[in-house]
Amino acid sequence: MDTATTNAIEIRDLVVDFGSRRILENISFDIHQGEIMVIMGGSGAGKSTLLRCLLGLKAPTSGHIHMLGTDICHATKTDLYKMREKMGVAFQGGALFTSMSVAENIQLPLREHTNLDENTIQIMTRIKLDMVNMLPHENLMPSELSGGMTKRAALARAIIMDPKLLFFDEPSAGLDPITSAELDELIIKLKKSMKMTIVVVTHELESVFAIADRIAILGDRELIQIGTPHEIKASCDKRVIDLLNRTPRESIVDSDAHLKRLTRNAQS
């Protein structure tokens, strides 16, 4: 098989509703094996929601998601769990278990899914903690961590099982530039050395162009554009250009007109 063209994830006609609100409409794209796919889009565009669908946590209203050959929207629980043993996830808010220390959090998948002896578990934990620069903090409780430390601990937990697929929801938000750059390097290293397929949701333009093999841009419920960083930079779509140039919304530039709109009801 040619790894460059094999799809790790295929998304077809995905529609997602929350109650009567449509969040995503007819999303279709592929994520190739061994690539870093960055998903971008404004706040509330549905990036986390798309990720939750990929993880099998939210059932889409319609559409299909094939992941490493499994249709995760219609798979049995057993198949889904088998699939998930090959996935690592770092949630937007970290989602560390508050009753366990950082090290225990990271060890949990190892303890549940492998029969490794205590020594090996400790060593593997240390290796991953060192990768995310959290070794000095292994005995802290999640409540004692800063936002950035929480993110890094969650990352370490996501890669502890050396997954084939890795999902990061905003890994670098809230990190200082140096740690953020280190993290970008780590992501690239994971892709190269472990041949992981990595899906990253991020806003940080700098890190987007540092790590992305391809970029998918979400907005207005749909996929606006997907392509290599080069193609995205050359895009003619106004929404993409605005996002890349950090153009403020018109409402903020044209403040008079916006003020009128905001006070419309109050005056009448």
Partner: protein, 262 residues
């Protein structure tokens, strides 16, 4: 008017759905408990948590209620000149009725609310989702140990409650009112039969299951609750609901069991 009927209808449907979900959870967990791996340590940890959390309040309420009963019965029985049966009166009401009910209510207030809030917070902070994504079934990993621990702890706490409550009655009858020690204890031993103990035990097993199940389900299914509530407000609301519903369920079940068994 039609709006009110609509609202009533949807509320009823939501409640039925919730009850269905709760018992479904019970069935799933019962099934999963039969599958390996079998883990004892988490259950012991939860039993310690539920037991230790409730022990003080169980002892205090047990002694108090025993003393109140002793006092009440002594005054009443004295009028009929039959203080001799004080021991059996106290013991029977404690073992058959008050022990299981009061223990369950205390555990709801002390441990049940904590369980519900804990699961609710884990749900809203995506910790439950994180477990799912690690291919660790959250119902088995999180809820099952709590449920088993609840079913085992409540009868144990009930036993403690019974002992201290009977002790409280003894204190009032024998120490305060100078009743003969032998008549309190012998009266008790003579009148309490195995079926009374069995009834109490059965009640506390059922209550233990009922309250932990309700409290767990309320917190665990926070994201499905009526207003799809999130955040601290959602947790506090389901916790209150869990306490109220499980207390009512205990009282109602007590009546049902009493009616069926007598």
């Amino acid at each position: 008017m039609i709006k009110a009927i609509n609202e009533l209808g949807s509320n009823v449907l939501a409640s039925i759905e919730q009850i269905g979900r709760t018992f479904n959870l019970l069935v799933i967990i019962a099934w999963k408990l039969t599958q390996p791996p079998y883990q004892i340590y988490p259950i012991i940890k939860q039993m310690y948590f539920i037991g230790a959390r409730s022990l003080t309040v169980i002892i205090i309420s047990g002694v108090t209620i025993g003393m109140v009963l002793g006092l009440q019965f002594y005054n009443t029985l004295e009028r009929f000149g039959s203080v001799g049966v004080l021991g059996s009166a106290v013991a029977l009401s404690i073992i058959r009725e008050l022990g299981p009910v009061m223990t369950a209510l205390m555990v709801v207030g002390r441990a049940g609310s904590a369980i519900c809030a804990e699961l609710g917070i884990m749900r809203i902070s995506e910790q439950v989702d994180a477990l799912e994504c690690m291919a660790i079934a959250p119902d088995k990993y999180l809820v099952a140990p709590k449920l088993v621990a609840g079913i085992l702890s409540v009868p144990l706490l009930n036993f403690v409650f019974n002992v201290v409550a009977i002790g409280g009655g003894y204190y009032v009858g024998v120490v305060l009112f100078g009743m003969a020690e032998g008549s309190y204890i012998n009266g008790m031993i003579d009148s309490v039969v195995w079926s009374d103990v069995r009834l109490g035990l059965m009640k506390s097993l059922i209550f233990g299951m009922l309250i932990t199940l309700i409290c767990c389900a309320k917190g665990f299914y926070l994201h499905l609750s009526e207003h799809g509530s999130k955040g601290a407000e959602g947790v506090s609301r389901v916790t209150t609901d869990a306490v109220v519903i499980s207390s009512i369920a205990v009282l109602f079940c007590d009546f049902l069991i009493g009616a069926v068994m007598s």
